[in-house]
């Protein structure tokens, strides 16, 4: 007798791709703006990037209802932190909080594939990449979502950022300039859009620097 499986799932995948690249004094966070379900498009104009704190920006693909719920929890927790500490959360602090929040729902996870980007206490760019239950790592660059398998190998090829676990310990920061990083992001998204049906419409790029956040919106193929 085979086990009966549920004919209803609490999850859905709304597709999309998120990428982040850390630099010496900047961080680039990018995501496409297509939201889909099955083979249908729900929106061509849905932002997957969310500012959590002055120096921490979250980009998540996966089930957007869970992503929205996760963002609300983090926003409330950040408010409490600000009341208690009289300052904004740093990116590494937010990274740990995100990990704890995800693991808190270890047995009914947030279906969210996160990339957290920002500036650390010294003003250097940092990127943290996650799985659905909170396992995370500080890296120089990362891609998550439906197009990640197309993008990640290319970023590895271009950026060759070693893991912080390898000895001798090396900075997980890529030696790119801000303009080169933005260009690279545009290139990888253009390529991913070609072959991944869930990635396309528009590309939203956020560039985080010590003096503020800049946003760019670029067209992608709509098919």
């Amino acid at each position: 007798m085979t086990k009966q499986h549920a004919n209803w799932s609490p999850y859905d995948n709304n597709g999309g791709t998120c990428v982040a690249i850390a630099g010496s004094d900047y961080c680039v966070i990018a995501a496409d703006t297509r939201m889909s379900t099955g083979y249908s498009i729900l929106s061509r104009d849905y932002s997957k990037i969310h500012k959590l704190a002055d120096k921490a920006v979250l980009s998540s693909s996966g089930f957007q209802a869970d992503v929205k719920a996760l963002q609300k929890v983090l926003k409330s927790r950040h408010l409490i932190y600000q009341h208690q500490h009289n300052k904004q959360m740093s990116c590494p602090a937010m990274a740990q909080l995100l990990s704890n929040t995800l693991y808190f729902k270890r047995f009914f996870p947030y279906y969210a594939f996160n990339v957290l980007g920002g500036l650390d206490a010294e003003g250097k760019g940092c990127v943290f990449t996650y799985d659905a239950v909170g396992s995370y790592e500080k890296v120089g660059y990362s891609a998550q979502g439906s197009g990640s398998t197309l993008i990640m190998p290319f970023l590895d090829n271009q950026l060759k950022s070693p893991s912080p676990l390898l000895l001798p310990a090396q900075d997980s920061i890529t030696p790119l300039s801000e303009a080169e990083a933005v260009d690279l992001v545009k290139t990888v998204f253009a390529s991913a859009t070609e072959r991944d049906i869930y990635t396309g419409d528009k590309l939203e790029i956020m560039i985080l620097k010590a003096d503020g956040i800049k946003t760019e919106l670029i067209d992608l193929r709509k098919d």
Partner: protein
């Protein structure tokens, strides 16, 4: 007020229908250093006198940010005030989480008042010994409320609580009708002048007072020392002439207050 046989428990009524423990809690508010609030149509200013335990210590924080659109000034047992501020922040955050919109001030003060009322009807609790001036902005405009340890709350155009607050109240009573249309700068000036009244003679310095403001397009924040000093400088010269005229007006309310304290039959909660 004198000790009597009905004042041991908060759950004991007196024959004249008073809860003495609650009234004693309101006395605690009068012992704290002054806190003042005023509002116009678009802004709310909260100001307080900085009191320090000794010259060596820092002064106690009496004004707290609850949210971008709500601030609170306290007088009385500051520890109770700190705990209630944390509660208010939590309510504000939870409301925003559920409704994705800022907590209306009127709702917050009701929550606070209900919380205070619980402590007046449990034999194992005591009333909060702190008065709260809650100032905030919501869809229905700018508001200033006063929350009592008794669980009552009232809305005000302007109010002062704490020690020597009667002097500030007298000043505010003279001027409150114009506050509604006041500009932001005039409101701040009136707040600082009200603080000056409570100092009664001491020279007003920016280090002696804390001023905070919130309004339309202006999230809650504190004014820094230079800003306050600038406002003080604009009227300090005029003050010398005003002082002589005010000295006579202040003697009258001080005498009236001394009479009221000895009057046992009037329940002070009716103020």
């Amino acid at each position: 007020m004198f000790r009597n046989q009905y004042d041991t428990d908060v759950t004991t009524w007196s024959p004249t229908g008073r809860l003495f423990q609650v009234e004693y809690a309101m006395e605690a508010v009068k012992q704290g250093s002054a806190a003042i609030g005023l509002r116009s149509r678009s802004h709310v200013v909260l100001a307080c006198v900085n009191k320090a335990q000794s010259e060596l210590s820092s002064h106690q924080r009496k004004i707290f940010k609850v949210d971008d659109h709500i601030g609170v000034a306290i007088a009385g047992l500051t520890a109770d005030g700190r705990v209630l501020s944390r509660y208010m922040r939590s309510e504000s955050i939870n409301h925003f989480f559920t409704y994705e919109s800022p907590l209306p001030v009127g709702r917050l003060v009701v929550h606070l008042a209900d919380k205070a009322q619980v402590c007046t009807q449990r034999s194992w609790k005591r009333p909060y010994g702190v008065g709260l001036l809650v100032g905030g902005l919501d869809e229905s405009g700018a508001h200033l409320y006063y929350n009592c340890p008794s669980g009552n709350y009232f809305e005000y155009q302007a109010f002062a609580i704490g020690s020597r607050s009667q002097a500030a109240k007298t000043y505010l009573e003279r001027r409150f009708e114009s506050f509604g249309e006041s500009s932001r700068e005039d409101l701040i000036k009136d707040a600082i002048l009200a603080v000056r009244e409570t100092l009664q003679g001491e020279t007003l310095k920016s280090s002696l007072c804390t001023v905070s403001i919130l309004g339309v397009d202006e999230p809650f924040h504190f004014l820094d020392q230079e800003e306050i000093q600038k406002v003080i400088d604009t009227f300090e010269k005029v003050a010398e002439e005003e002082d002589e005229a005010e000295g006579e007006a202040e003697a009258a309310p001080a005498a009236a207050q001394a009479e009221q304290a000895g009057d046992q039959d009037v329940a002070p909660m009716e103020i």
